[in-house]
Subunit: 360 residues, 2 copies
């Protein structure tokens, strides 16, 4: 069994590899051969009741890639207000101030475990590629300006993905932390080899953008209706970043996964009734199909050509990335595993340690 | 992180340890502090369409034990007819003819992974202890004869558990394979230090038993109404082993988990519509509460004293073990981990391999 690190995964997982693997996976999801399990969340108060312990898992099987994947997170969660907005913040409580998220890969022909690795790099790239694929089918073909809200861990991968699918010429970015925003802009200019401008206000960042993207840890809306010009593609990494008004105002609204529309981040269980991000606000009405019959499509259907794509330069399109899917970790994980093997990366430990001569 | 083998777990996990850990876990489940996630199943046809690949996972958090657990199985499944009854058979398709089932333990205070080990020994012991706890509260206090159907991997742990909670003097066992049945009886006589008699027919095995137990891999009923004498406690490791008639005839019926009553073994997903064990027969009516208002209680409620227990010598009681729960793996896993550490068992690999300096 192959143990990989985030650093090793970074060496082999390009945005192009990730986009290609996901595009195939969505085709297979749409034709019914790739299958997800529902995400399972448990949230309980920590011993000191100052935070929550959250255990999250999701699984997916992509038979054509020969791989099943389980992705799990074992987190200490808090929801502070920062920059006037309530955010989800994971505390690095593991030794050495670390976080805990893992992907386990299994062979669908023998059942055996193939690999285990941290989920961070894959998670960032798969979120980027998901929103990138949406932009590929929903944004104007000649989209060249990105207005970005957020300069955190996810924001960079969003830009990598947009640049891989569209002829992006410039990016304008705003975040509540000006110094961090400036550093991010500098670093991403270098990586993308095109200008990334830090902005003082969200409005100046999103003005006249072809792609208006948010990549925040906010659990309440950050995008405003008045920012939406003709032909813009709005891209959210969380559905909570948008509003009902934007959803209704858009000409074409696509959700990452309709199959998981009932699944919420950190649904309260046990004593955890006080968790601030739950089934509330406008979203609860969407999930109950109560919003005036406005259609909402699935990304897999869009990729597979079973749902509408952008029709004309004037349409306002909206993509909301509501949840991760197990098949994303299986499809991209399978490619990581292959490429790591080809490149001799990682540490091998005996697969036999994880097999058994008895069965339940 | 500690890697343990089934052999090492066998050294520390006695039935007494398992019963005690589970009894505490059910108390905490009943008071809402221990929390399960729903079990997630994915079943897809294998490449040759001769079998199914099944990926199963369940999680549970037991904060007072400081542990979260994930249990997963990565199986190749078939459903042949053997001995006139349709059974679920897992093929040992992994290298060296092995099966794949794993338990991962995490700390609820730091999130870090603590241990990973195969699930086989724990699975067998936790099923035994679950039915043992049911027998502790539902069978006659002086129950001394067990009639057992099945002589497979699960059957021995059932006997260990009954002998731990009741003054069992003798066991009579039937299985469709007489030679295997004889060997099982011989081995269990030695282990239990009391007589275990192999029987030629199921009827001769169950006659006049205080505890009528089935421990089979059958996916259709194996227990008959006419076998049930006054005062018997009927114990199933699968709900499918019983019938609607037995359920209605019993004076007190208890299910392992009412919370998971809607969860089924291997619900068909994707192309797997032909799977023979699904939501069918009498059970589908129980899950829809359509069976004439007959009450059905939860084992945790029985253990916590929130549901009825046996009332008098003449009652016929029924326990059906419908599904495994994540908290069982957390509670018993926590004890295994402690005892393995105390006894210096297992292989340590760097926890750092499973931590990350970034977070999604």
């Amino acid at each position: 069994m192959l143990i990989l690190s985030n650093e090793e995964i970074e060496k082999v997982l390009t945005m192009e590899v990730c986009l290609e693997a996901l595009e195939q996976a969505y085709q297979q999801l749409a034709d019914g051969t790739a299958v997800n399990s529902p995400r399972a969340d448990i949230v309980v108060p920590t011993a000191d009741a100052q935070a929550y312990y959250a255990f999250k898992s999701m699984a997916g099987v992509v038979p054509r890639a020969g791989v099943a994947a389980l992705r799990l997170n074992s987190d200490i969660l808090t929801w502070p207000r920062l920059g006037g907005v309530q955010r989800r913040v994971k505390l690095p409580a593991a030794p050495g101030s670390r976080w805990v998220g893992l992907v386990l890969l299994f062979s669908t022909s023998t059942g055996e475990p193939l690999s285990i690795f941290p989920d961070g790099v894959l998670q960032r790239m798969r979120v980027g590629a998901t929103n990138g694929l949406a932009a590929k089918y929903l944004s104007r073909e000649d989209a060249h300006i990105v207005g970005l809200l957020g300069s955190g861990w996810q924001a960079g991968a969003q830009l990598l993905a947009f640049c891989a699918v569209r002829p992006i010429q410039a990016v304008r970015v705003f975040s509540p932390n000006p110094e961090h925003c400036r550093q991010f802009a500098e670093e991403m200019s270098r990586i993308l080899e095109r200008p990334v401008y830090p902005c003082d206000t969200p409005t100046s960042a999103v003005q006249d953008a072809d792609i208006l993207a948010s990549a925040t840890n906010a659990v309440e809306p950050v995008i405003r209706r008045e920012w939406l010009g003709k032909g813009v593609h709005v891209s959210c990494i969380k559905k909570q970043e948008a509003t009902e008004e934007i959803f209704l105002h858009s000409n074409l609204a696509v959700l990452h996964s309709l199959e998981m529309i009932q699944q919420e981040n950190y649904l309260p269980r046990g004593e955890a009734g006080a968790i601030p991000e739950t089934r509330r606000g406008w979203w609860s009405q969407v999930t109950q199909h109560e919003l005036s019959g406005k259609p909402l499509y699935d990304l897999a259907a869009v990729v597979a050509g079973k749902a509408p794509r952008r029709a004309g330069r004037e349409q306002i399109t909206l993509f909301m990335n509501n949840i991760g899917l197990g098949i994303q970790f299986a499809a991209v994980g399978a490619r990581i595993y292959e490429l790591a093997k080809e490149n001799g990366l990682g540490k091998e430990i005996p697969t036999d340690w994880f097999l058994q001569a008895v069965h339940p």
